[in-house]
């Protein structure tokens, strides 16, 4: 069965390594914080100027001065720090943040990503996404395999305005874990009960399928 948003987040959380600083984008990526594996210690960076972001506050303890990059009220954990936006992006551009997880509208087989604009329809802006994808060593994209019309978002080439070129290395969807290398998608894992055929049929980009494709494993 295809994963839900929480399942995608839970699978991405398995990629976390001890000691990493991690930036989570808005949407599914935010949910990754709920599934940190036992024994793994990571610290979350929010690009509006927080290191050591914690969970949502208890009711009545919301602070208008303490929000995340999605403008949601949040808290901090022990050892947190605050800083200005230039310092925040120095952390990102300077590769002091080990992992970026973000959403996408389209990803292409050479690692291009589009997630900020639909010409004539939706122009919200790129926020910090272009800085994040241009510099992060590890980028995982959390997204649905197809759009609402059923068209694949895992493409040979992106059709929407790009956010970054050749930067995505891993994609986790409701159906599969894909790696991008040598200009191709490589099928690494499939969601429990999802067939390789379904993944192939919903992937427009070139997909390398090994003889055995293991199912994702969840504890």
């Amino acid at each position: 069965m295809a994963l839900d948003k929480n399942g995608i987040a839970q699978r991405i959380a398995q990629e976390l390594k001890n000691g990493w600083y991690v930036n989570l984008g808005i949407g599914i990526p935010t949910l990754v914080a709920n599934y940190i594996p036992e024994g793994i210690e990571v610290e979350f960076q929010s690009e509006n100027g927080i290191l050591g972001m914690g969970p949502f506050p208890f009711e009545g303890e919301e602070d208008a001065d303490l929000i995340n990059a999605g403008k949601q009220t949040i808290t901090t954990v022990a050892g947190a720090s605050f800083f200005d936006s230039a310092t925040s992006f120095a952390m990102i551009r300077g590769q002091h943040v080990q992992l970026t997880v973000l959403g996408a509208m389209e990803v292409s087989q050479n690692g291009d990503i589009a997630n900020w604009k639909i010409p004539g329809k939706m122009v919200k802006g790129m926020g910090g996404a272009m800085d994040l994808v241009a510099s992060a060593e590890n980028i995982i994209v959390a997204m649905m395999h197809s759009n609402k019309a059923g068209e694949s978002k895992i493409l040979k080439e992106c059709t929407l305005p790009l956010t970054g070129v050749g930067c995505v290395k891993k994609v986790v969807t409701e159906l599969a874990v894909l790696e991008i290398k040598d200009g191709k998608f490589h099928l690494i894992e499939r969601a429990p009960g999802v067939s390789v055929e379904e993944i192939i049929s919903k992937t427009e980009g070139e997909l390398v399928v090994p003889d055995v494709v293991p199912e994702m494993h969840f504890d």
């Binding site: 230039a86 802006g125 272009m130 241009a134």
Partner: protein, 232 residues
């Protein structure tokens, strides 16, 4: 040097039609809401506003958009504002969207006397159109220029009569860089104290960057997305 002005009216004297303003804040967090209210009252027109976001329809810079005071917005994300989207798609409003880190650094550079810098952000995208590309360490970068403003208007938690500022939590965001990049920088603060009261070790923006400071009379500090967890 005493930088204190009596009120928001005095703080914004000299702002004229067609000027470029920087306004601090991220979303509605850390925005100079007293000054924005006064700008709406003044009715100044054809403004170029540099601010990470454009407020929401009925708060923050959204109020200036409703009043058609803004000719051009320079921002990184403008997603929460229907009137903004309407004006942009109809061509009434010029919009320059900039990657957030580049926006922050362009303000910092403007205040620091650095005319331009290379960044990898935006290479290969429409942001790079018309910009010089150079390869450093095997990686392409684009040339981004510094930003400055006729007035930079920032919001701080505490300030002293010398213009030294301390921000609170995530309300710091763009305020320190914008404070550096204004020809005239106005700071509105929640608490204004005599020089010598704040610990010099804890100052975020040194007073040299601030020309006028006043205590705001009304801080609504609206929350854009109230998210909570259940009490245990």
């Amino acid at each position: 040097m005493n930088k204190v002005v009596k009120n928001v009216e005095e703080a914004l004297v000299g702002i004229q039609d067609g000027m470029t303003l920087m306004l601090g804040g991220f979303g509605l967090c850390g925005i100079p809401e007293n000054s924005i209210g006064q700008l709406v009252k003044l009715g100044t027109k054809n403004l170029t506003c540099i601010s990470n976001n454009a407020g929401v329809d009925d708060f923050g810079i959204g109020l200036m958009l409703q009043a058609k005071q803004v000719k051009k917005m320079i921002s990184s994300y403008v997603g929460e504002n229907d009137e903004f989207e309407r004006q942009m798609l109809s061509g009434e409003l010029e919009v320059d969207l900039i990657p957030q880190g580049s926006l922050a650094e362009r303000c910092r550079a403007g205040g620091a006397g650095i005319p331009a810098f290379f960044t990898p952000a935006g290479y290969g995208t429409e942001v790079a159109e018309g910009k010089e590309v150079r390869v450093f360490n095997g990686k392409p970068h684009i040339l981004e220029s510094a930003l400055t403003a006729d007035f930079a208007i920032v919001k701080a938690w505490k300030g002293d009569t010398e213009g030294n500022l301390i921000y609170k939590a995530a309300a710091r965001n763009f305020n320190p860089m914008m404070a550096m990049a204004g020809k005239i920088t106005v700071a509105e603060v929640e608490e204004l104290v005599p020089a010598g009261t704040l610990d010099p070790n804890q100052i975020h923006t040194p007073g040299i960057f601030v020309q006028r400071i006043f205590k705001g009379t009304a801080f609504e500090k609206r929350i854009e997305q109230r998210t909570v967890r259940k009490n245990a």
